[in-house]
């Protein structure tokens, strides 16, 4: 079953002006339910546009966007409800924080949904726990937190709406390696705990390889490849043709193979590479 589907969707920015730019061009993609799908591609390949099309922030110039089999633009007045069920976390979401306390900021989304106090409280605590934010920080100003904590508050603010589909644009951008791993594993945990669908935009092949079930490669406003990480990364030359590449460990395995070692090259995480190299060492 598909959680979200784009059919024949195009989007043109600043139509009819000298700045007119086609961001996505007649694309058909379906995002599988209960999957972590990664979207990867160059700057300007249309990744972010796809994410905003999915939650109705942008209205397609052409084509149909379906969530759970329903055209989201069938009733334009109810588009706000779509935004509650398709949560979108923008790039650098900490720049959207505005409330006096973290608690209030996380509660902003649920409050907009018109929920009652008790329900809001429950959701705020749940979302904070999901991103690993301790309740001691609730009464602190979000502006007093560290970068990584701010990011967690912002992501919790979207999770608190309990979206069926959670879309994140570069959730780990600008964080240190430990912060990256923490945030990304919390997101995957969110998917497991809430039985939802996650779509994640990233520039990092390494992150994609570790955390995603499926990868969508975009190039030139169109989907270029779509499949399981193993499938996508087995086509190293095709990826290089659009200026992307395979994870660094895979590159290393390919180089080892070139040197004449009988090593597998369908390895794209550090752990798998370690196991494979150990296996190879034992055979020598």
């Amino acid at each position: 079953m598909n959680a979200a589907e784009l059919r024949g969707v195009s989007y043109v920015y600043s139509e009819h002006t000298p700045f007119c730019k086609v961001a996505v061009n007649h694309i058909d993609i379906s995002f599988e339910e209960k999957c972590v799908t990664g979207i990867i591609g160059h700057t300007g390949s249309g990744k972010s546009t796809v994410s905003q099309l999915l939650n109705g922030l942008l209205k397609p110039s052409e084509g149909v966007v379906e969530i759970d089999g329903k055209n989201i633009w069938a009733e334009p007045k109810k588009i706000r409800n779509v935004r509650f069920s398709v949560g979108l976390v923008f790039q650098y979401p900490e720049y959207q924080l505005f409330e006096e306390t973290c608690y209030k900021d996380i509660a902003f989304g649920p409050k907009n949904m018109g929920l009652d106090e008790k329900e809001i409280d429950e959701r705020v605590r749940e979302a904070a726990a999901l991103v690993g934010l301790s309740e001691e920080l609730f009464e602190k100003s979000p502006f007093d937190l560290s970068g990584g904590q701010k990011r967690r508050v912002a992501i919790a603010g979207v999770m608190a709406m309990r979206p069926k589909i959670l879309i994140l644009d570069e959730p780990a951008a600008g964080l240190d390696p430990r912060g990256r791993d923490e945030i990304l594993s919390k997101i995957v945990e969110y998917r497991e705990k809430t039985d939802s669908t996650v779509i994640m935009i990233s520039h990092s092949m390494e992150d994609m390889a570790v955390y995603c079930d499926k990868i969508l490669v975009m190039s030139d406003s169109k989907p270029y490849m779509y499949g399981a990480p193993a499938e996508v990364f087995s086509r190293a030359t095709d990826l290089e043709a659009v200026g992307l590449s395979v994870p660094q460990v895979t590159k290393m395995m390919l180089a080892l193979k070139d040197k004449g070692f009988a090593i597998r090259t369908d390895v794209y995480t550090v752990d798998a590479a370690k196991a494979e190299i150990e296996r190879l060492l034992q055979t020598i």
């Binding site: 009819h16 000298p18 922030l57 979401p93 720049y95 902003f108 907009n112 709406m161």
Partner: protein, 273 residues
């Protein structure tokens, strides 16, 4: 939401107008504004109107874009037109009902006034804003005003402030749009409710925006200091402005237009007494 704001926006191009020296453009734009006010008779108005249309055509900017740039002054236009139609003590009465009196003079006055505002807006935006990059514009302004530095007016500092302000208008709009989108994604509603609810709905946008502007200002200041910026003294320029034949031709054209308007005013009756 902000897609239609074209004020202070530059459209890159390669037209005759784009290539003019910004200093000449600034002077001619001021002169052109004076010309618009000088035109009194119908043929003189027609001449200025045609010349402005010609300017737009030469600039290579689409007429639709130019018309869209009038959107912000739409209310002003309607207001002036209505006032001129209904509050006028002309003599040729066309329509009368109770206290409403519409005279021919009133209508003529309304049309000329509206046309004057439109011409002002269009000519300055086409000549200056749309065809001159902000950097060229402030460069031109700085050089035109440089004599004032002799009487201790910090011309360079003002020019630099203006460059930065102009430079960051698009960035600010883009950022506002981003924050609006982020809050919309969290269900913020900017369109419904009365004026107080609407104003309150802007808080989630204004606070992050203010904070990011302070951060940006701080970063910019640091970046400038890192490159040893310390005001205008002793700075040289990468591009030095030169007047070319093109600039003198355009000055000649505007002078010819000036003469034309004076002549037409002399031989034809004025529209507004």
């Amino acid at each position: 939401m902000f897609k239609d704001i074209t004020l202070g926006q530059y459209f890159p191009g390669n037209s005759f107008l784009h290539k003019l020296d910004p200093r000449m453009k600034l002077v001619l734009a001021v002169f052109y504004i004076v010309l618009i006010f000088l035109a009194k008779s119908a043929p003189a108005y027609a001449l200025v109107f045609l010349f402005t249309v010609l300017l737009i055509a030469v600039s290579g900017i689409s007429f639709i874009t130019v018309l869209k740039s009038l959107k912000p002054i739409f209310l002003v236009l309607i207001f002036t037109t209505l006032i001129n139609i209904f509050w006028n003590n002309g003599t040729t009465v066309l329509f009368e009902w109770k206290f409403i009196v519409i005279t021919l003079e009133g209508i003529i006055r309304a049309i000329t006034m509206a046309l004057r505002i439109i011409l002002l807006m269009v000519s300055t935006s086409v000549i200056l804003m749309y065809t001159t990059s902000p950097i060229a514009l402030t460069d031109g302004l700085e050089q035109l005003l440089s004599p004032l530095a002799k009487i201790k007016i910090p011309v360079h500092t003002f020019a630099m402030m203006m460059t930065m302000a102009l430079r960051f208008i698009p960035t600010l709009l883009e950022e506002t749009q981003k924050i609006i989108n982020a809050q919309k994604a969290r269900g913020a509603d900017f369109d419904s409710g009365n004026i107080i609810t609407k104003a309150k709905a802007l808080i989630p946008v204004l606070i992050p925006l203010l904070i990011s502007q302070f951060r940006r200002a701080e970063e910019l200041a640091t970046a400038m200091e890192c490159r040893c910026y310390r005001g205008g003294g002793g700075r040289t320029r990468m591009t030095i402005l030169h007047f070319s034949v093109r600039d003198f031709i355009s000055a000649g054209l505007v002078l010819a237009l000036f003469a034309g308007i004076l002549l037409l005013n002399f031989y034809f009756p004025a529209l507004i007494k």
